[in-house]
């Protein structure tokens, strides 16, 4: 429903066509593009993701986007912070299914491997109307891709790197005109025995990390059938299991171990009509987490349907509903939770250069109404001269976060009377595009947001209990630029970004709360990244850097973590062929200058590391 397959014929509907020709169904346009007018979206396709093979979603977000990723060590929990919000304010979808843990209300990006994903899109800002629960700071959309008529293809890939990194993956796929199957298997392993300076010891000796081993295995299976000219069935299945030694904070010698296992499955049925598409979707997500001997499991069942209708050349509409049943079996409680949500999106194309979208959503959880969430957005390409154009994107909307199962039911301390968090935000962005010998894209976005009823866990004697206490105001500027051109026979591309984010508590726990009017903890005000890539005849070199500014450890800001900047470098050759086989090779160095840094206080991070990648594909 969210990453809705969209027929190319709709974009340019022909006058007297009765049915959509399914062999034309090759262009996939997610709802993100269709009804997200006014929203800032950033996407990576397979080719760009290839540079991050063997790494996690957290790495690409940290290094290539304005998102700040709170990393608890190498290969350890990594949680996203969009626009100064917390991990619980980011909705995460896989093939349109929301996959945040229902008990924690967030996702750990370190166990979402790039190897299992074909495309990633990030949407920034409130999109409660378009994407529902938890889409306050932004949302992450992961997907696998289906192709038809490509025959047989297969490949294996091996990576060897520093600190015991040994990643293997293989895929095989077959597609005919009406059937498509692709299977991927992977295993990622790292000893993570990187050296670091032990600040907790007298004399700060250099020691090797000895409790951060990471092992992850998984399988992804995609299947799709074109049943006939009007009907398509798609399924995807993803099993992922991660075993980790939890890296202790410097100064502690804890030996915690964590296993995370996720089963995710989705079935989509599409029925194409002349000017509309029906989509029925069902799926389930099961999360099993074992921390030492404590088990926390949950299962979510989804059933949803929507109808996307091109009313006229100017008007389009989508109407949908989803039912979710969650069964939580946590170490301290068992509970069921059901949710029903209705949503409606309308797009109006006023002219070729001006479009509007109005999105509405109402969710009801366990009989309680979440805040009604409307969103209005506009894209306006208001200035076009020869090779230049200026585009304005603006939107205003609401978002919400239903208290998580742990917030409501954790024993002891869970608070069933919690209200959903509620947010209101607006943004305006301007993009300048110039094409020619040099291609320029320069974009600047200003956003403002406030989150009310922010849930915070506070100690009450020996228990902690969550309350709707805080109010947080965020505002900031995001700059995104790219420039590409040629230099002789060399092609080059430079991408840059800078983010300023001010996220302050405006209402605290009480009148003595020292966090009021201060920046939220672990929320850098400044962040930037840059990447340059040059290519010639299959050879390519990439140099990239990212900078993370100062950030505080606690909400009252007495202790600041120093800023840091890291550099990565890579070389690749992708034209090597042996017979029918393609053998792309690449080599990369992460943290080239061996910079000593911590993202979170006293969480050791690795210095310089090397990685060699070899793939064979047919």
């Amino acid at each position: 429903m969210f990453l809705l397959l969209w027929a190319i014929s709709f974009v340019a509907p022909s006058q007297n066509q009765d049915t959509v020709k399914l062999d034309q169904v090759e262009v996939y346009a997610p709802a993100l593009d269709r009804f997200a007018q006014g929203q800032k979206v950033l996407s990576w396709e397979k080719a760009e993701l290839n540079d991050y093979q063997g790494r996690s979603l957290g790495d690409i977000l940290q290094e290539q986007s304005p998102v700040f990723v709170r990393q608890y060590g190498a290969g350890m929990i990594a949680s996203p912070s969009f626009r100064g919000t917390s991990a619980g304010h980011t909705a995460v979808f896989w093939n349109g299914l929301p996959i945040n843990s229902p008990s924690l209300g967030q996702s750990d990006l370190s166990i979402l491997p790039i190897s299992a994903i074909d495309q990633v899109s990030l949407q920034f800002g409130n999109a409660g109307a378009l994407f529902g629960n938890e889409a306050i700071g932004g949302s992450i959309h992961l997907g696998t891709q289906t192709q038809f008529g490509k025959g047989f293809h297969a490949g294996i890939s091996q990576q060897i790197g520093s600190f015991g990194m040994f990643n293997s993956s293989a895929f095989a796929g077959f597609s005919s005109k009406n059937f498509s199957s692709k299977t991927k298997v992977y295993r990622e392993f790292s000893k993570n025995n990187f050296p670091y300076k032990d600040l907790g010891q007298h004399g700060t000796p250099e020691v090797k990390q000895d409790h951060a081993q990471f092992e992850q295995i998984g399988i992804v299976q995609d299947l799709a059938w074109n049943l006939n000219e009007n009907n398509q069935l798609k399924t995807a299945f993803w099993w992922n299991k991660t075993n980790r030694e939890v890296q202790p904070v410097i100064g502690s010698n804890t030996k915690d171990e964590q296993e995370d296992q996720a089963f995710r499955a989705v079935i989509d049925y599409f029925h194409f009509k002349e000017k509309s598409v029906w989509n029925l979707k069902t799926g389930f997500v099961r999360n099993e987490q074992t921390f030492n001997s404590s088990e926390n499991n949950s299962t979510q069942y989804f059933i949803a349907g929507d109808w996307d209708h091109q009313i006229s050349t100017k008007w389009a509409s989508k109407l949908g509903a989803r039912y979710t049943l969650t069964k939580g079996d946590l170490s301290t409680y068992q509970t069921d939770d059901d949710r029903i949500e209705l949503y409606q999106s309308t797009k109006f194309l006023a002219s070729e250069n001006l479009s509007f979208a109005l999105n509405l959503r109402q969710l009801v959880y366990s009989g309680t109404f979440a805040p009604f969430t409307p969103n209005l957005g506009m894209d306006w390409s208001f200035w076009n001269r020869n090779s230049q154009s200026l585009q304005l994107k603006t939107s205003i909307g609401k978002g919400f976060k239903v208290p998580t199962l742990n917030d409501r039911f954790w024993n002891p301390g869970g608070n069933p009377d919690l209200l959903p968090e509620e947010s209101l935000s607006g943004e305006i962005g301007l993009t300048w595009i110039k094409t020619g010998n040099l291609n320029w894209t320069q974009g600047l976005t200003f956003y403002k947001m406030s989150v009310n009823n922010w849930i915070i866990w506070l100690p009450k004697g020996s228990f902690w209990t969550p309350e709707n206490i805080k109010k947080v105001d965020n505002q900031g500027i995001e700059y995104q630029g790219s420039l590409d051109g040629s230099f002789g026979t060399w092609d080059w591309k430079l991408t840059t970004s800078y983010t300023y984010s001010k996220a302050v508590t405006t209402k605290g726990t009480d009148e003595n709360d020292q966090s009021v009017s201060k920046q939220l903890p672990y929320t850098p005000q400044h962040q930037a990244n840059a990447k340059i890539r040059i290519e010639k005849n299959g050879y390519s070199a990439i140099a990239s850097t990212f900078y993370v500014g100062e950030r505080s450890v606690t909400a009252d800001n007495p202790r600041m973590m120093p800023s840091f900047q890291l550099f990565n470098f890579g070389l690749a050759y992708d034209k090597l062929e042996i017979g029918m086989l393609q053998v792309p090779l690449s080599f990369q160095i992460n943290n080239v200058f061996d910079t000593d840094y911590q993202v979170l206080y006293l969480r050791a991070m690795p210095g310089r590391s090397f990685q060699f990648n070899l793939s064979i594909t047919i």
Partner: protein, 349 residues
């Protein structure tokens, strides 16, 4: 140090600060006077630290361990013990840092082989460290011990003496180390030369802190509805008097004013979590108590005999820095100021 001063020092060291039984006169260093504020730090963050307060000028120096040693303390600070001209900073995350009390410069550490150290005592040239031992699968600590280190500036653990579960405060006297066995309501006596438990005394409540006056050792012990003060004759190492005071929900935090008065933190627990500072006065064979202040989040207590003031710290829920409130002996608030994360006790010279 004269005996009298020594007694004062021991009397004024609050919470689980053990007392000094040796020491020599020497020029005063930057931190030799005043109040050390122990900030436990937040679980999972290891941001324990020490603040120094000059109570006369009200000058407060933050994070003095990091300031003087150019590295973070990197631990949860459980106890500070002043003995043998050294300050022992006991981190329950598994180490003891040893610093010079005058300038806070690092002298050494015990960093390997410890699990969850709680307190420390010096006997001769040996360190004795009480340690809960590792948690088992059900978060119990069946392997608690007292670790022995040969050398006042730290080093390796040479022996682990098995004791009852969850040992807390230690007291060194003569050739003996007296152990507060908090979970099994026991006092265990270790022969410091042979490094074995030679006798045990059973109590009716959970022993938390020791406090010596002359040849008498006071034991502060806690039960659900009352607190019990025991005395131990240090010559014979046998129990003497018992004073039972009906103060409910007492915590392990206590400060002594050195004159038969004590200040105890209580907490009502679920569902109201009302905390209080209770003043207990023992005269003759009877004890009376009065509530001095109520609130929520009280985490440590100390008594400054120089100005006759009570120091009460508040953890503010560990959300950020804690605060300290200074009270007069009658409970009126003198002032309040911000300190480090999770302030849990005071060492008042």
């Amino acid at each position: 140090m004269k005996l009298n001063q020594l007694l004062w020092a021991s009397a004024l060291i609050s919470v689980s600060f053990a007392c000094s039984d040796s020491g020599e006169e020497k020029p005063l260093g930057k931190y030799d006077n005043g109040i050390l504020i122990m900030n436990e730090g937040n679980f999972g963050t290891n941001d324990g630290e020490v603040y120094h307060l000059n109570q006369n000028t009200e000058e407060l120096l933050p994070n003095i361990f990091e300031a003087e040693n150019l590295r973070p303390f990197a631990g949860l600070l459980e106890d500070i013990v002043l003995e043998a001209d050294r300050l022992y900073l006991v981190a329950n995350t598994g180490k003891v840092e040893i610093v010079n009390p005058a300038d806070f410069k690092s002298l050494g550490a015990v960093s390997a082989e410890l699990d969850q150290p709680r307190s420390l005592a010096v006997n001769g040239s040996k360190l004795f460290i009480s340690d809960y031992g590792p948690y088992n699968a059900s978060y119990a600590t069946p392997d608690s011990y007292v670790a022995v280190v040969n050398g006042l500036d730290g080093g390796v653990v040479s022996k682990k003496i098995e004791v009852s579960n969850k040992p807390e405060d230690l007291f060194s006297h003569g050739n003996f180390i007296i152990v507060a066995g908090s979970e099994e309501n026991k006092i265990e006596i270790i022969d410091a030369t042979q490094e074995v438990v030679v006798s045990t005394i059973d109590l009716e409540a959970s022993p938390k802190q020791f406090y010596a006056v002359g040849n008498v050792l006071w034991i502060y012990a806690v039960a659900t509805d009352e607190v019990i003060f025991y005395t131990v004759n240090l010559s014979s190492l046998t129990l003497g008097n018992t004073y039972t005071v009906p103060v409910a929900n007492a915590t392990s935090r206590i400060a002594f004013d050195g004159d038969d008065e004590m200040y105890v933190l209580t907490s009502s627990g679920w569902p109201d979590y009302n905390d209080a500072v209770v003043n207990i006065d023992i005269e003759g064979s009877s004890a009376t108590f009065t509530e001095l202040m109520t609130g929520s989040g009280f985490y440590g207590i100390g008594y400054d005999h120089n100005l006759d003031q009570v120091y009460v710290s508040n953890s503010n829920g560990f959300q950020g820095n804690g605060t300290v409130t200074v009270l007069s002996e009658t409970g009126s608030v003198v002032r309040t100021f911000e300190v480090g994360r999770g302030p849990s006790g005071f060492l008042i010279y």
